[in-house]
Amino acid sequence: MIKHPVLILEHLAVGYGRRVVLPDVNLRLERGSFTGLLGANGSGKSTLLKTLLGILPPLGGRFVLEPLNGRLPVLGYMPQRESLDPIYPLSSFEIVLMAACGRVGPGRLISKEEREFARQCLAETGAAELAPKLFSQLSGGQKQRVLMARALATKPDFLLLDEPTAGIDAHATRAVMEALKRIHAQHGQTVLLVSHDLATVRQYAKEVIWLHEGKVLHGAVDELLTRDKIEELLSLELR
């Protein structure tokens, strides 16, 4: 089967300001893949993600988003929920509707179709009933499902999720990840999931990128997340 890359990283260096976190990243992600980006706190997971999203400039090398049907792929981003200020009195519906800004020009009204699509996205993540509720008053799991609906409402070719299960309980983690699995199966977007939760990545992702002390390992979950490999990577005795 011919594989089409959606993202190619060549000698990419990422970091903040002059501080390089990952000096030389080389990898490619195939279209429709579901990849977990693993690593300890401070290993550069979120920095790499933000560089790919254009939020941080690359410090060296380059990355290429391969065109899809003659246009650049649309990126759907799900940030960490703590990064959003709870002072804003925004309903969950308004949060999801923000995704329409990518398609609706400045000063133009958001159409009925866009509103309907936002409701559909909320329904797809199992958050339809949360639409009128204040986002700031939702539980961690509910917020994540609303943010996933927002990422979905950008009509993305490539979904990038930053720690979607951080700080939520096992029940909510399952609800969020099952929603993501369902969406991936239905729409076939490329998914890059940042996480430090090994068990979640092992269960849901097909590929894994492991960041460890500036090194980057990329491979299938079955190959990379074996006991021996993890021991070798972390230099830990699991016995």
Partner: protein
């Protein structure tokens, strides 16, 4: 009732002052919504002070003979002075806040005291502008010409229109800058435009009602609205409605009791805020009791 009839009479002598009060009450809370949401309340204190310093500086230029003293163009000149001081300051402060480092509150505090001190120094060395400027600092809204009213209405109208038309862009870059970047929005442009509008509104409001009243209307109505709003539309509508109604009621009370209008407005806003806080706390307590009586699980 008698006061209300007088104030609403089309031939009321101070009708332009009523209109100016209503305009400030309508527009300042809309601008204040963004200052509150972006956690720039201290900027709302410092900027009116900078703006009045700009007005004092313009009056001084007239007193020093650098620009001619034209009574009919005084308002326009003062607006230019106010805007020239306010816009660069707001852009500079927002840029420094964005880049981080140092104490943002410290910088704003320094700007506030320096602007206040310079205003007073310029005021005492300027016999020409002393009377008018003192009235402005006290928040007196007495003599408003038709031309002044037209200029104020045009400026506030423009600010309101642009904020309304581009509300989704302003909200996106304020709430989630990173998302805005991923959607290919020019974040620096939308930030600059928003701060330009805030600066224009503050410049005009300070010229009309003084720095104290401007800050009162920038801050208190959005804080009241924040307690009750369930979405952004409600937030803006409640803030603007509270501002407009308080401005009108404050004017009536001040007229009836022969008080200065500005401080009366601010005290009234404070009382409404206190009452709203009691209602909000009471509603919160009731909600907690109901929730403990019928608990539900959320995921």
């Amino acid at each position: 009732m008698e006061t209300l009839r007088e104030v609403l009479d089309p031939d009321f002598l101070l009708r332009n002052s009523v209109y100016i009060s209503l305009l400030v009450g309508l527009v300042c809370p809309l601008v204040g919504v963004y200052l509150v949401l972006r956690r720039l309340i201290f900027m709302g204190v410092a900027l009116p002070q900078i703006s009045s310093c700009g007005v004092a500086f313009t009056f001084s230029l007239q007193a020093w003979g650098i620009i001619p003293h034209l009574h009919e163009a005084e308002h326009a000149l003062a607006f230019i002075g106010s805007t020239v001081f306010t816009l660069p300051t707001i852009l500079l402060l927002s840029l420094m806040m964005r880049r981080g480092g140092g104490s943002a509150e410290g910088r704003l505090g320094t700007v506030y005291v320096l602007a206040g001190a310079w205003s007073v120094l310029l005021l005492v060395t300027n016999p020409l502008g002393e009377h008018g400027l003192l009235d402005m600092l006290k928040g007196e809204i007495i003599s408003v010409s038709d031309a002044d009213l037209a200029r104020t209405a045009a400026t506030f109208g423009t600010v309101m229109l642009v904020i309304f038309v581009f509300r989704k862009e302003f909200l996106l870059v304020s709430f989630d800058r990173e998302m805005a970047i991923t959607l290919k929005k020019n974040v620096a442009f939308w930030d600059a435009l928003l701060f330009l509008l805030i600066g224009l509104a503050i410049s005009m409001a300070v010229l009309s009602v003084g720095p104290l009243v401007t800050f009162g209307f920038l801050l208190i109505p959005p804080l009241i609205a924040h307690m009750f709003a369930r979405n952004m539309r409600q937030f803006a509508l409640i803030a603007s409605s509270v501002g407009t109604l308080s401005a009108f009621a404050g004017f009536c009370i001040a007229y009836r009791l022969d008080f200065p209008v500005g401080p009366t407005d601010v005290v009234l806003l404070g009382l409404i805020y206190g009452f709203a806080l009691l209602v909000w706390k009471g509603a919160g307590l009731m909600k907690t009791r109901l929730a403990s009586a019928w608990p539900s699980r959320t995921v």
